[in-house]
């Protein structure tokens, strides 16, 4: 009898076993469960289980008006809240064929880029921490705080702003807005090289990320992996370049591409994007035109009957909004194509064959935000 138990306990070299990573695992940054099938320490396959924080945002949107939808989109990818708001607003404005003032376009673009930097800072902090470098968490959050302070001064909230409204903005930005952004750029240009010294050149970090989680360009396209994760595989998928919206057609910037397709390539894309976002900010911040902060809107917004589609580039990839309207003040159906949902399901493909410790590195490099997956 006791021998049998011992036999059960000692798992042979070739035997497979399944462990759960999550739903409460610090490196998944939210409630996500991976069912991981292992052979020894090697990952054979992995099944993501989602839905732990499903709130039915798409269904909820069918019962509320267009201005009210904005505050729900904040709560999908909360680290790109401005960009999510903008997606719905652009879609509604397209449907109504409203031309928003130039000032609004500039401010929206600035907010999107600030949001992108803040999001990448938090990702950098957490990614370093996932791989055992706790210091990065403090340094990244220290710099992110500067952006959140700018947000707080202008919109009153730090994470979920609900600031962009169909037709324009909620109210005008704070008079200090431009000054503080310029201060931030000067500050962060000095601090960003520290990130490289601290983590990029670190030998432990490099050994844990180079050549891990290889994703070919074909895989990225097949799974629809967009954003920095897709661009790390050499797939040029930046919506800001392909289909410019807001003020992106007025600025000069480069799309960041890396061809290696491993975890380190995705890391490099994001680091370079922070530099590029600062370049975009510098081009825009001094040229914000004067004018209204919102276009003339009717108090009750009703979209004409039809189907409307808009895509934007969030910090994690392509967010698409698809609205079917039956002419009422609420949408008949609204669908969000969120970047993280597609980015998550490539995990199985790019982690099989690697060790279980690499799982954390790969999922960190995809920069998953779980509420965006579950919606």
């Amino acid at each position: 009898m006791s021998e049998e138990i011992i036999k059960d306990v000692i798992i042979g070299e070739n035997e497979e076993y399944i462990i759960n990573m999550g739903p409460q695992h610090p490196s998944t940054h939210g409630v996500l469960r991976f069912e991981v099938c292992l052979q020894g320490e090697t990952v054979k396959y992995l099944i993501p289980h989602i839905g732990y924080i499903h709130r039915g945002i798409e269904k909820m949107c069918e019962a509320i008006t267009y201005p009210q939808i904005i505050h729900l989109t904040d709560r999908m990818d909360y680290l790109s809240a401005h960009i999510n708001n903008e997606a719905v607003c652009l879609c509604v404005e397209n449907a109504l064929q409203i031309e928003v003032p130039e000032r609004v376009k500039y401010i929206r673009t600035i907010l999107a880029e600030l949001n992108r930097i803040a999001s990448h800072q938090l990702w950098w902090s957490a990614f370093g921490m996932d791989l055992g470098a706790l210091t990065t968490f403090f340094y990244g959050l220290r710099d992110r705080e500067k952006i959140l302070d700018i947000f707080e001064e202008s919109f009153g909230s730090r994470l979920l702003h609900s600031f962009i409204m169909p037709g324009g903005l909620m109210h005008d930005v704070h008079p200090n807005f431009q000054k503080r952004i310029k201060e931030f750029i000067a500050y962060f240009r000095k601090k960003l090289p520290e990130y490289d010294q601290l983590l990029t050149g670190n030998i432990i970090f490099q050994n844990r990320s180079k050549g891990i989680g290889l994703m070919s360009r074909e895989t990225a396209i097949a799974y629809g992996v967009t954003g920095p994760s897709g661009r790390g595989s050499g797939w040029s998928c930046d919506i800001r370049k392909i289909a410019p919206y807001s003020a992106y057609d007025k600025v000069q910037f480069n799309e960041m591409l890396e061809t290696e397709g491993d975890t380190f390539a995705r890391y490099k894309v994001r680091m370079r994007e922070m530099w590029e976002s600062m370049n975009i900010l510098e081009q825009l911040v001094d040229n914000i035109p004067e004018g209204d902060y919102t276009a003339k809107m009717k108090p009750i917004i009703k979209l004409p009957v039809g189907e409307y589609f808009q895509r934007v580039e969030t910090a994690r990839g392509e967010l698409a909004v698809y609205i079917v309207s039956d002419g009422n003040k609420t949408p008949y159906r609204i669908k969000f194509r969120t970047p993280n949902f597609s980015n998550l399901f490539v995990m199985n493909k790019i982690t099989s064959g690697y060790k279980i410790a690499d799982l954390v590195a790969v999922s960190g490099s995809l920069d998953l935000v779980i509420p965006d997956i579950d919606r």
């Binding site: 009210q68 210091t135 909620m170």
Partner: protein, 161 residues
């Protein structure tokens, strides 16, 4: 054989150099107290000031005569996406004897509010504003349901359009 040994040592020195580069940064901050960015929160309560636009809660500003600007129109209730506001009105005869709508209770559920700001933006008489209070911890959830118009308060007449 020789080359593999020299490779082994050169990699080791590279590794030490990369670790040293990171340690220099942390060391620099360790010895420069001017760079401290954290706040001692409960101790600095007296001096802690939120930004003027900070969205802490919804308030209804009253002036020194206990007058507010709310007409009880219910537009904020209609615009709130999650039912955080309930308006209860009374019909009171005015000077000419015609019944007129006045606000009885403006009930605000802080526990459900998402601070979207739609009520403040859409109120036609600018009766609402964001308050700066952020310490909302209470022992019972019912304490988070508030009546915004103060007892005995009246409508400020000139505010009516």
């Amino acid at each position: 054989m020789n080359s593999s040994i020299s490779k082994y040592f050169s990699e080791m020195f590279k590794a030490i150099a990369s670790l040293w580069a990171g340690m220099r940064i942390t060391g620099k901050y360790f010895v420069s107290p001017g760079e401290i960015v954290t706040q001692q929160y409960p101790e600095n309560r007296a001096t802690l000031k939120m930004e003027e636009r900070f969205k802490g809660e919804i308030i209804m500003p009253h002036d020194e005569n206990n007058l507010h600007a709310c007409t009880g129109c219910g537009i904020c209730e209609m615009n709130c996406p999650n039912g955080s506001i309930e308006i209860i009105t009374n019909r009171v005869p005015n000077a000419e004897g015609k019944p007129e709508r006045v606000i009885d209770k403006h009930i605000y559920h802080l526990s459900m509010c998402t601070f979207c700001g739609l009520c403040v933006k859409t109120c036609p008489s600018d009766a609402l504003a964001f308050g700066q209070e952020f310490e909302h911890a209470v022992f019972d959830r019912s304490h988070l349901t508030k009546v915004l118009n103060q007892p005995g308060s009246l409508l400020r007449k000139e505010a009516k359009k």
